[in-house]
Symmetry: C2
Subunit: 238 residues, 2 copies
């Protein structure tokens, strides 16, 4: 059976071989949830960019700029990092440059993998279905918070791993812990996350709308994949 493993923080990524794997990068609050939402509103591409300076260069090329630092919108950028910022039909066909504290950087770190997918609860089943069909080994990479472990990305890892338990061999401790954690709190994720450090940070400057939306499962039926330096909606026929 093909293996599925979980990496709980980008700081632990050097302990994993990723060249032959599909890596699913997840930053539930909020980068990857927002990226998937942007594709639901038919953006043409999203380029993850590590630095603010690079992101500003893309603006000069006609890109829409989006992102945050420390959870706050960046001055001079077109959009922030809330999924609601991307629910805008004017984004159809546009190219986005997106920089965030954790998610964008994790995507760049993962880029030497065989393939990179974007993970979110919003398209959880679509991602599980795609991975089942590929039969490649999988690594779920939690973006975490400034290199450290976080709960919401770990819960997503548990949710995805649990869906793939019968198709993949899952025996690493991180996946087992994530599945157990998810199974324990799946029915009350929002309340559970209310105690977490990131939800507290988020509560400091945003209402609960973002958190509620980012935890919704299976709103969208497509996948998002990295091609060279850009994220694109995956053509279901491929």
């Amino acid at each position: 059976m093909t293996q599925l493993t979980t990496c709980l923080s980008p700081q632990l990524l050097p302990l994993h071989q990723i060249q032959d794997k599909i890596v699913v990068v997840v930053d539930i609050l909020r980068a990857t949830s927002s990226m998937v939402t942007a594709f639901a509103y038919n953006v043409e591409s999203v380029t993850p960019v590590p630095t603010l300076a690079d992101c500003r260069l893309f603006k000069n090329e006609g890109f829409v700029t989006a992102g945050e630092r420390g959870g706050q919108k960046v001055e001079g950028f077109d959009l922030g990092n809330s999924p609601f910022d991307f629910m805008n039909h004017e984004l159809q066909g546009r190219h986005l440059a997106f920089t965030t504290t954790n998610g964008s950087q994790a995507i760049v770190l993962a880029s030497e993998a065989k393939q990179v997918l974007i993970g979110s609860f919003l398209n959880l089943s679509a991602t599980a279905g795609y991975l089942m069909a590929q039969k490649s080994p999988v690594l779920i990479l939690c973006a975490g918070w400034k290199g450290n472990f976080n709960i919401e990305d770990t819960l997503y890892a548990g949710a995805l791993a649990q869906k793939l338990e019968t198709t993949f061999e899952i025996s690493d401790d991180a996946s087992l812990a994530a599945i157990t954690l998810y199974n324990g709190v799946a029915g009350h994720m929002k309340e559970f996350l209310g105690k977490s450090s990131h939800a507290k940070r988020l509560a400091g400057f945003k209402n609960q709308k973002d958190l509620e939306f980012c935890l919704k499962r299976d709103q969208f039926g497509f996948n998002v994949v990295l091609q060279n330096t850009r994220l694109l909606k995956l053509d279901p026929s491929t």
Copy 2:
């Protein structure tokens, strides 16, 4: 309220400030469980040593040498890393030099903390009681496996944090995840750990005796503390 946080792997330790904290280092399978057991059999001191070569130098000084690499006893060493190796009254008053893949190295990494304690299920309540009395901030450092996350150390972190929930402020995601995980499996830890990668490694060359013993709670009522480069039994009057 004073803070308690958890670090799930030595690789993540650089993300934490430890100078003003009591750090509890835990390597349940088997280094810290064995160290605590050695003090129950009245060894005088245990010196954690990072390398095999250093450990051999201590042998020339009259130390008893103990440890493992890759879970196996080291050729030429007096003892391995099983707690049963230390249940020997001939060890009374002896000085041990101890080197292991994960635990000894985590202790050395933690040595710039305000104080370093050794954690194990075997003296869980004694450690909780000591920490409650100190009122210093606490970091639980999981030794993990070759830098990566492991379940048994995380379960210990959850068990200790849960005992301290009403005394300390606990709001980091790692502690919350550890407490939730521990509460979910506390009644069947051995069966749950049977699925984990480390228990599988252990099963490859040892029977289940070590695992069962290392999960026993509150067999001993003392604490073990690092003083300069040596671990000593903590005098309860201090």
